[in-house]
């Protein structure tokens, strides 16, 4: 029978759901899974094996959460075996990330878990003397996609390591786009300034009949120009205009 009050129940809810007919499982005094009324005692197995027999898949962050819970409850288990059971390796890098993860704000953790961030994606946080908790929470609240979130995290870490205060990093952060633009300005001040000057100059050169858009493409910045013609005459006019722009362009 399922005990009414197990000594301790693992709280995390992995994304993987065991089959519905799975019995309730315990390992020593830990309730691993609440399933059917039938109780299966997995204490004879090492913890990692017992857990894997219930949860076939675990993401890195789910495992980290599990490890954290087990440590908090002083359960004796082998973290490296548990990670290896799910094809992760406990090495110096993973260990640093596991430690940093214990300090993350819950909402950020939830966002990272939702998007299956890896140890590598979060490693940069390990090098911060202090976690920018407010900013991380804010990032999670904006619910960015995985790749946008990682981009922003990278900018945030850079800005923090550049000794910019968290408050400064959180300016103009009401929308994801505005926040990213502001962090970009903080991280790339020289380029932003140069781009602004170049942009103003270049955009000002074109007659109204051209659609001109400022664009940064990797290590080059310039203008994307579109125009429409419906006759040879119009084309000749455009070429003439282009020639004027060409002549005006400073070398």
């Amino acid at each position: 029978m399922v005990p009414k009050t197990p000594m301790w129940t693992i709280k995390i809810e992995p994304h993987y759901k065991p089959p519905t007919a799975m019995p309730t499982c315990k390992w020593q005094n830990v309730l691993l899974y609440r399933g059917t009324d039938f109780m299966q005692d997995l204490s004879a197995l090492p913890f990692a094996q017992a857990y894997k027999s219930i949860y076939a898949e675990m993401s890195f962050l789910e495992l980290a959460e599990l490890i954290s819970e087990l440590i908090d409850h002083k359960i004796s288990f082998e973290p490296s075996t548990l990670l290896e059971a799910y094809k992760f390796r406990l090495d110096a890098k993973t260990e640093k990330v596991l430690l940093a993860l214990r300090r993350l704000p819950q909402d950020f953790y939830a966002w990272a878990k939702l998007h299956s961030l890896s140890a590598g994606d979060l490693y940069s946080l390990c090098n911060l003397p202090q976690l920018p908790e407010k900013a991380l929470s804010h990032l999670a609240q904006l619910k960015p996609s995985r790749s946008f979130g990682i981009q922003l995290l990278d900018l945030l870490v850079d800005c923090q390591l550049m000794n910019l205060s968290e408050d400064e990093c959180l300016k103009q952060a009401s929308t994801f786009e505005a926040w990213r633009a502001n962090l970009h300005t903080l991280r790339f001040p020289q380029t932003t300034k140069r781009d602004e000057q170049k942009k103003e100059y270049l955009l000002g050169l074109w007659p109204k009949s051209f659609t001109v858009r400022w664009l940064r493409q990797g290590d080059r910045a310039g203008v994307d120009v579109h125009f429409f013609v419906s006759s040879k005459k119009e084309l000749a006019e455009k070429i003439e205009s282009l020639q004027r722009v060409h002549n005006e362009l400073a070398d």
């Binding site: 390796r89 090495d91 110096a92 890098k93 993973t94 640093k96 590598g120 490693y123 940069s124 390990c126 090098n127 870490v157 850079d158 390591l161 550049m162 000794n163 991280r187 790339f188 001040p189 020289q190 380029t191 140069r194 170049k198 940064r216 990797g218 290590d219 080059r220 910045a221």
Partner: protein, 378 residues
Amino acid sequence: MNLPIDPIKNITAKYERIFIEETSLPSPVAQRILELVPNDKITVCQGKPDIPTSSEFTGEEYTRSKKLLFITKHPGTFFKRCPGAKKGLACCNYYVLNLGLQCDMDCSYCYLQSFINTPYTIVYSNLDEALNELQEMYDSAPNSPVRVGTGEVIDSLSLDPLSLYSRTLIEFFRGKPSWRLEFKTKSAYVEQFLDCSHDGNVIVSWSINPQHIVETEEHKTANLDERLRAARRALDKGFAIAFHIDPVIWHEEWQKNYSELIEKITTQFVPHEMPYISLGSLRFKSEQREMMRERFGMNSYVTRAEMFPGAAGKMRYDQTLREEMFAYIIGKFKEKSPQWKVFLCMETPETWINATGDLPMKKDDMRSLFRPLQVERT
């Protein structure tokens, strides 16, 4: 020999332990280490030393790999084509001979940080096999103007007082006038080969930067004056020399500092004393950012640099900034004398045109450096 410091002591002090793979014991480099290095620093091992490491290195693990030295045989072929020989990049004809892996110096921008995953520095003990490969290549095309460099994944000379590979290589290149051996270094170790006779086809080149950059970014390297002095010593012994001002690094005072560097070069050397000076701007793979940030924080001109994805998958400065820096440096040289041959390495054709006015193949003084190779590796 006239050395400012005892190079062997200096090199040995950088290593916590030197491992020698058993089968490498008879090699000259292993024998020399056994003779010169205190025995308590040496471990003879079967196979690789067992050093646990992460699948992706942490900064500490990378740093530790500079403190352990492993003498072992190179398992594959030694000879490789220059990494600049890729589509979209204009580059010089150049072959690479790897004599080891990892470096005892520690530049913040070092590209080794993007791929090294061996927990120790390696020096290959089977130089004889490398020479056999070279001989085969030479026999197949003895008249081709091949350049062979040894400084791609290990500095050519910083460990040379210990290995003395320079001497063996110089000897090998004697009698092969169409071939050129190129050592590339940030060390000042040249004394160990200056007495070797050669056919004038050995070029010793230095990566140089203003002393301010040496101090802030090129850790554990020889300082600028030491490098220039070493270059002068090599030149006086008939070796050809070249300078690579690479990577050019933007910083507030870059114009002043690069001007001073050019001033030093042009007062200590004259154009005909070197076939070329190459220029390259800071570039690195984006994968290496994390490692640099971890190891050097953001108080480095390199980690703090404003870099963007550019040609060949590398992060680069904005193209206009690169052109500005190149044009400035080239202009300063040309102000001193139009005879200075300065070319851009690892750059896009657009940057060549904007910074120098033309492509390397179209410039008379550059054409010979960019002639297509007639030798292809099989």
